[in-house]
């Protein structure tokens, strides 16, 4: 059983999402602003918080900063790099767009609850771009935060091409667990790297 809190300022969207989520996900509560979300998250402790990037009294990042306990999955209509990178750097473990189906959102929630990162094709595209993978930059060691390793680039490329983790695994002849490890490593780099592009985007959302 996975428990969820939905933070979004549109009540229709909240109720729609609630109805669409798979039955094994329990919604513990809903909030419609940064203040009410932080208040709610001090009372209940869900496994995953579904978080809108734009809220009337702040951003999703403010919620993460105010209640850093649970795992966050960002959910937004925005595709802009500032929004995506901003909320990921604030600590969200994944990013999907609001156009995703209930089943997709449920799968993403379960993945985030299990400690994995959720990358949409678009986010993977951003990552390839921002880490200079397209220009041919490659990390020399596993510790390097500002570039992706060859394997990470391959995984990100396949995700950008629309492959699910399972398909990435069979394509590269590695286990799903290994794919998840690579994705989590990329997420960590995305959150910790000091690459100029990432910090610039994050600065746009006033995150640093």
């Amino acid at each position: 059983m996975t428990t969820v809190v939905i933070v979004d300022d549109h009540s229709i969207f909240r109720s729609g999402l609630r109805a669409d989520l798979d039955p094994d996900l329990t919604v513990l509560g809903e909030a419609d602003s940064v203040a009410s979300a932080i208040a709610l998250l001090t009372e209940v402790s869900p496994d995953v918080v579904l978080l809108d990037v734009h809220l009337p009294d702040g951003t999703g990042a403010d919620v993460i900063a105010g209640a850093p306990g649970p795992r966050y999955l960002a959910l937004s209509v925005s595709d802009s790099a500032e929004d995506v990178v901003g909320v990921i750097r604030a600590g969200a473990r994944g990013y999907i767009t609001k156009g995703s189906s209930g089943a997709d959102v449920s799968a993403a929630v379960r993945a985030v609850a299990g400690g994995d990162a959720v990358f949409s094709p678009r986010l993977a595209g951003f990552v390839l771009d921002a880490f200079g993978a397209v220009a041919g930059e490659k990390a020399a060691s596993a510790e390097e935060l500002d570039r992706l390793s060859a394997r990470e680039q391959e995984v990100m490329r396949l995700i950008a091409r629309g492959y699910a983790y399972k398909e990435v695994a069979s394509e590269l002849f590695i286990s799903i667990k290994t794919v998840e490890t690579h994705v989590s490593a990329v997420l960590r780099k995305l959150q910790l790297s000091s690459r100029h592009e990432l910090t610039a985007w994050a600065l746009e959302r006033k995150l640093l």
Partner: protein
Amino acid sequence: MTTTIERPALLRSRLAVVGGVSDGLALHLGWRPSTVRLLFIALTIAGGSGALLYLWLWALVPLQPADEPVTRSAPVSLIAIVAAGVATVVVLAIAGLDSVLGWLVIVAATASAAVVWELAFDRTDPSRPLRYRLGVRFTAVALLLIAGIAALLSRPSALAAIVAVGMIVIAVGVLVAPFVVQLWADLMAQRAARVRELQRAEIAAHLHDSVLQTLALIQNRAGASSEVARIARAQERELRDWLFTGDAPLSEDLAAELHALAATVELDYPVRIEVVAAGASVAAPAPVVAAAREAMLNAARHAGGTVSVYLETSEGAIDVFVRDRGPGVDLSDLPADRLGIRESIVGRMTRAGGTGTVRKTATGTEVHLHLEVPE
């Protein structure tokens, strides 16, 4: 019994001699333009009422509604300049001998009139070249200065001296006026642009928070392949384009081109196409665009559901992947007469010096277009 005659509306002509009044009036009354003009001239000579009537009509009768600018065939500013020139010659001839006051006023009035006409009408008239306009302006300045200085040097009466100084001031003003007018126009345009931008940002923020959310919800509830979701998605795409890229999209950019293609395919088929682009913006090579379009159409026709398009532009190469989750096709299984994939994707890319590969995977088909681009 009365009969009503259908008359053309009273409108000033855009192909005018001076103001377009005579032409318009002639058309309205069904007379010949020359008759109307003669009448105006006759009335003007007989007490000036013709000129007054002309000005009155000019001020009150609206222009013909049309997009092209008004052209005026009578060189009014040139005539005024010539008059000013004649008056200046008279001033030079009689300076020191007689009172120049009357002639000075004539020079000032005609030269100013020429410049005013030039600024007000010739500036927007395509039949007046820049050379003509600059000629009018600088001749006016020269005449004002010559007449003014000549008058001042000839021990004029107090009143004539004041007029002469005034003329020199006007001359300087004429030199500066076009810049001031231009500056003013720029300032107004800038202010209008700023207000528009502000309004746009406000509308964008509002639409982002309301309409985009609703459209996302509709797609969510209606299921990816339904008609409603398709329309909602098309609307979302349009709105998003308008909100985030402004109203001047870079159409030569390959990523933008693929986005546009995806939008048109989505309109015609129950499919959802997600376009992801990474790398620098590149110009769109026609074969890649055409092959990508064919690949998207194939995916939409035979697979449906969600189609992923990934564009990567690295240094020296363009890669486009179009992936669907349909039953999958194998090139070797296709009959030879199926030209779709063989010709329009593989053949086209080969002819362009690149490669096109169609690959069947466990969960669908993936088309890969690759093109080397010289830097």
